[in-house]
């Protein structure tokens, strides 16, 4: 059943620019570094012996912000496709469970963001090579900086999807996204329990993997809570 729903959902996001935005996110993050390194490459390369590491740190300073805002935008788009002509009622009166409808939406968003993360890795690698940052390409670090933030951001995705799918007014999830990005921007002073801190991969133990684990765990939990609330509600 979920396979059918996924195919239908991927058809519905056609021409809505969601794929384009999934590309634009990582491209924008790297483009900012293109400008940054383009303007003051020599200065930046002098800052550290580990040029790759320094470059990835810079890339990563924008990743959480792009991720938080990207999630808010994609989830809201996803919900507004059904909200626009109240197609929820048509969708829910098909022989599918509400749980699988919700799961399908989550999986489509998860796939889009996965593609974004993958592209982020590819773009980082490409621009890094272009910058001549050295032959010692830290593939493992590259993978970590591309996918850890994504996994650590799963609770934000679950929360935004929940809010977007139960809100008639998409101003509510978008406003939540704005608050989220302010939190993400202030990550280094946020307490460790705030989900918006996690994509920054910072914590008091300095162990990014904790954020990833928390992301997956709490993300699953928030997903379930959101899904249960979604199934409980009447469809207008």
């Amino acid at each position: 059943m979920i396979g059918k729903l996924l195919r239908a959902d991927f058809l519905k996001i056609k021409r809505k620019g969601l794929w384009f935005l999934s590309f634009l996110g990582p491209f924008g993050v790297i483009a900012l570094q293109m400008v940054n390194y383009g303007v003051r490459k020599d200065y930046l390369l002098n800052q550290s012996d580990d040029d790759w590491g320094y470059f990835l740190e810079y890339v990563h300073s924008f990743t959480p912000l792009a991720l938080v805002l990207g999630i808010a935008i994609l989830t809201s788009f996803m919900a507004s496709i059904e909200n626009e002509t109240n197609a929820w009622k048509q969708l829910i009166s098909l022989p599918v469970s509400k749980m699988s409808v919700y799961l399908s939406k989550f999986m489509v968003l998860g796939s889009l963001l996965f593609v974004s993360s993958l592209l982020l890795g590819v773009f980082s690698l490409g621009y890094g090579i272009l910058l001549n940052l050295g032959d010692q390409i830290p593939y493992l670090e590259l993978l970590k900086y591309s996918f850890y933030p994504y996994l650590a951001a799963l609770p934000i995705l679950a929360l935004q999807l929940w809010i977007a799918s139960v809100s008639q007014n998409q101003g509510i999830p978008i406003t939540t996204g704005v608050l989220g990005v302010i939190f993400a921007y202030s990550a280094f002073i946020l307490p460790d329990w705030m989900i918006w801190k996690w994509p920054s991969l910072m914590n008091e133990w300095d162990e990014p993997l904790i954020n990833v684990m928390l992301g997956i765990g709490v993300g699953t939990l928030l997903y379930i809570v959101g899904m249960l609330d979604f199934t409980r509600r009447d469809v207008k």
Binding site: F62, L69, F77, V178, V181, Y185, I189
Partner: protein
């Protein structure tokens, strides 16, 4: 004109978008309590440091983003169930409707500016600041941030009229706002980038010789120029929009 404004205000009051405005003091208080500078090492007015750090995030990200949400919110009830056609079938000109929406927005943003500085003051009081509240600086920063946002609001209104969904104009807003974080590091680029102007005009560490922390020339050309571009663009688009 007055009646259109009254009608706009009425519609706004009865929509549940007050909550967007209420995020301003929340963020203000959050930023105040997570203020990054400690003033123990400095011999300057405690308020300055508080303002410096709070204004940074507020003007850099929050203000440009939230005004976009607000612009979409006041267009939402027109996009729903054919509000535009009903509104424009009334004996009003499209130009006046556009101006009324814009005026409502800039008044709301002014209210947000005031609320933000009220939050700054409250945080200072709670923290027990004893230095005199720098009224002149706050006043300049409040008005300066507001003026610098005027062109952004014009573009946001344009985009909100163009797109039905919240997500599309917001995406555009994000794409234009995020680079500011990088742009403000460069004095050369930041003076030309409209999205950097709210930050520059609220950055109390800026050139104190200038009335609004930026040169008048910059204010007139960058802020004024982008305002004319976006406002006229939106105005003309709305004239031709098929509803």
């Amino acid at each position: 004109m007055v009646s259109i404004l009254q009608s706009e205000w009425f519609k706004f009051r009865h929509s549940k978008i007050m909550f967007i405005i209420l995020t301003v003091p929340i963020i203000g208080i959050f930023l105040g309590f997570t203020s990054r500078f400690s003033n123990e090492d400095f011999e300057i007015n405690e308020w300055y440091l508080s303002l410096l750090s709070m204004n940074l995030t507020y003007a850099l990200l929050f203000l440009p983003l939230i005004t976009g949400v607000l612009a979409s919110a006041i267009c939402r009830y027109e996009h729903q169930a054919g509000g535009w056609k009903q509104l424009l079938a009334l004996p009003v000109t499209r130009g006046r409707v556009f101006i009324a929406k814009y005026v409502l927005l800039i008044v709301l943003v002014l209210v947000m500016q005031v609320l933000f500085f009220v939050a700054v003051y409250i945080v200072g009081m709670i923290k027990g600041f004893t230095d005199p509240f720098p009224m002149v600086i706050v006043w300049k920063s409040l008005v300066g941030g507001w003026v610098a946002t005027l062109p952004l609001i014009a573009l946001q209104l344009w985009m909100s009229i163009l797109f039905k969904s919240f997500a599309a104009p917001f995406a555009i807003n994000v794409i234009l706002t995020l680079p500011t974080i990088l742009v403000v590091n460069s004095e050369r680029f930041s003076s030309f980038y409209p999205w950097a102007q709210p930050f520059l005009m609220m950055y109390i560490g800026g050139e104190t010789g200038d009335t609004f922390y930026v040169p008048w020339v910059q204010l007139l050309t960058v802020v004024g120029g982008s305002f004319i571009l976006f406002f006229v663009g939106g105005y003309l688009y709305f004239q031709r929009k098929a509803v």
